[in-house]
């Protein structure tokens, strides 16, 4: 979808290229994160794709067509663009901001209104905000408007330059997750610049790690990069806790879940003791049908009716979308040393330390 072919950018007055003979292929529907230290040319690379910066040499192909074949402004209208400072137009209402590219493309009024309505819903804004001016919105809301504006004319390609860098960490996490969900529905081809390796591996389907001067050190799936860094630079840039970072990328749903030492309250205390023995643990989980009630200490079992026991709840409960990293956290913080998985109130199973460690070392 996007091909950079031996692209070099030499700024006037610079002694060495900002980007030096960079080649990069981005497939349709890929979410590529560009990450590297400051000065690695990641933003320069991004801006060469929509020609906010013109390459000194090399070729950039978008959908097979040379980016230089069109006037720059026409090319840009077909590419969504989101920047860290958002850059909403302060003299235009939220609705007018979102309608920017459709207006430039000359859509008629009715079509624009309809599209703006769709987008407001898509990015999770209140329709009441449409008539407000950007300075009246919070940082998170402004960034949603920025994303809606970039998506307005339904461009196949989206360029994002540290889009969530200016909002506080809690809002950033939420915007990241929301944007990933959005992307799953939209299937855009995204190029996303960040200096944050955690964001890069979390958001990307592929990650390009750049070194000074736009040298591509490794370009692969985040999983592979974390498991097999290509060289010392990449290893160093990834930082510590690579195992944990890999766990963070994998959802619980990828794992086979054990039912674990769990009995239904309709059975007997003897059955509970048998299950405990079988699993070699001193506690037992209780379910009522497919609903997880909690767990009881083995010493509380007196052979009587299980319904009369008062189970203690599992403090941390995951769902299938939780990451293995969250599962690990649940394991080490629970008395029972397990992470339980519940989807919409239905007990799915549990994970222990052994299972998680096996997954990451296999």
């Amino acid at each position: 979808m996007i091909r950079l072919d031996n692209v070099t950018k030499m700024f006037t007055g610079g002694t060495r290229p900002a980007v030096d003979s960079l080649s990069l292929d981005v497939d349709r529907g890929d979410f590529v994160t560009l990450v590297g230290p400051s000065g690695c040319g990641k933003t320069t690379t991004l801006k060469m794709i929509n020609r906010l910066i013109e390459p000194t040499s090399g070729r950039i192909l978008i959908n097979g067509q040379d980016a230089l074949a069109l006037p720059a402004y026409e090319l840009r209208r077909s590419i969504g663009y989101v920047i860290q400072q958002i850059g909403l137009f302060p003299h235009r209402t939220v609705a007018q901001n979102i309608a920017t590219v459709p207006l430039l493309l000359g859509w008629d009024r009715a079509r624009i209104d309809e599209r703006v309505g769709e987008l407001v819903e898509l990015v999770g804004l209140e329709p009441a905000m449409l008539t407000r001016y950007p300075p009246e919105l919070s940082g998170g809301q402004q960034q949603r408007v920025g994303v809606a504006r970039a998506l307005a004319a339904d461009p196949p390609v989206l360029l994002m330059d540290e889009p969530f860098g200016a909002v506080d960490p809690i809002v950033r996490k939420r915007l990241q997750q929301e944007f990933l969900q959005l992307q799953q529905r939209l299937g855009k081809t995204v190029v996303f610049v960040t200096h944050d390796i955690d964001e890069a591996v979390f958001m990307g389907t592929r990650t390009a790690i750049l070194n000074m001067g736009g040298v591509l050190e490794q370009y692969d799936t985040p999983e592979t990069i974390l498991a097999k860094p290509a060289n010392a630079f990449v290893e160093n840039f990834l930082g510590g806790e690579r195992g944990l970072k890999r766990l963070a990328l994998r959802p619980v749903s990828q794992m086979g879940l054990e039912r674990g030492p769990v009995v239904d309250v309709a059975t007997t205390g003897d059955e509970a003791l048998r299950v405990m023995d079988e699993h070699e643990v001193d506690w037992v989980g209780l379910v009522d049908g497919d609903r997880l009630l909690g767990w009881v200490d083995g010493s509380k079992l007196d052979g009587g009716d299980l319904r009369l026991l008062e189970p203690r709840p599992f403090l941390v409960s995951l769902d299938s979308q939780s990451s293995l990293r969250e599962a690990l956290d649940a394991v080490v913080t629970s008395h029972a040393r397990v992470a339980v998985v519940v989807d919409d109130g239905v007990y799915k199973g549990m994970l222990d330390l052994e299972a998680i460690a096996e997954e990451i070392t296999e």
Binding site: N50, L75, Y81, Q85, G87, Y133
Partner: protein
């Protein structure tokens, strides 16, 4: 030793009633000279501001030349222009216009420079042409600074129009000059008061116009 050429009250309402037609004529003259001079000044300074924004190197010479014009005493400038254009309204308008340029250009360029870089980058990234970006982003966002410049230029011009009395024009300045020559206080008071009132009216008009032109600046902050 008050030089009361005519005895009687300091302010003579009868004179106002007798000369009402002339007051209306001079008001029209004052307003016309002000509006024409400021309007031509706005057009010229917008053009020169575009040049200054587009080619930065031109900004220093532009401010240097308009700054030089600004320092010439108004009486001297009228006199200098007499051999070229004569003793008429053209002379007045050229001089008055030249005094507006420095203020208008400075404010316009400062206003455009004050447009956030992120807005410019976003506009470019969305596919605005350079010209569309200038008229639809930079000029509207620079409006508060531009209007501030127009207010100063207009108030200054209203005052300076009175000096054109030496050319036989002068709007309200006509009354002031004649009053000074004849020591007739009523004329001086009429000339000064109406001139100040006109300046105030123009200023309030622009405050209102700016509020109307920049609805986005009302709600926020």
């Amino acid at each position: 030793m008050i030089l009361a050429q005519e005895s009687g009250p300091l302010f003579d309402w009868d004179w106002v009633a007798r000369n009402w037609d002339q007051i209306i004529d001079r008001t029209w003259e004052h307003v016309t000279l002000t509006v024409v001079s400021v309007a031509i000044g706005m057009a010229l300074s917008l053009g020169l501001s575009i040049v200054a924004v587009r080619w930065r190197k031109a900004y220093a010479p532009i401010t240097w030349i308009t700054g030089l014009l600004y320092t010439i005493p108004s009486l001297a400038l009228f006199a200098l222009l007499v051999p070229i254009v004569g003793l008429n309204a053209t002379n007045a308008v050229i001089a008055l216009t030249s005094y507006t340029l420095l203020i208008l250009i400075r404010n316009t360029v400062a206003g455009i420079d004050g447009v956030p870089a992120s807005v410019v980058e976003a506009a470019d990234g969305m596919g605005y042409t350079r010209r569309a970006r200038f008229w639809k982003m930079e000029v509207p966002l620079a409006l508060p600074a531009i209007v501030a410049g127009i207010r100063i230029a207009t108030v200054t011009t209203v005052g300076l129009v009175t000096v054109t009395a030496v050319l036989g024009l002068g709007g309200y300045g006509f009354f002031i000059l004649r009053g000074l020559n004849t020591f007739f206080w009523t004329q001086i008071i009429v000339g000064v008061t109406l001139s100040v009132a006109l300046a105030t009216l123009f200023d309030l008009g622009f405050v209102w116009a700016q509020r109307w032109l920049t609805p986005w600046a009302r709600g926020a902050r």
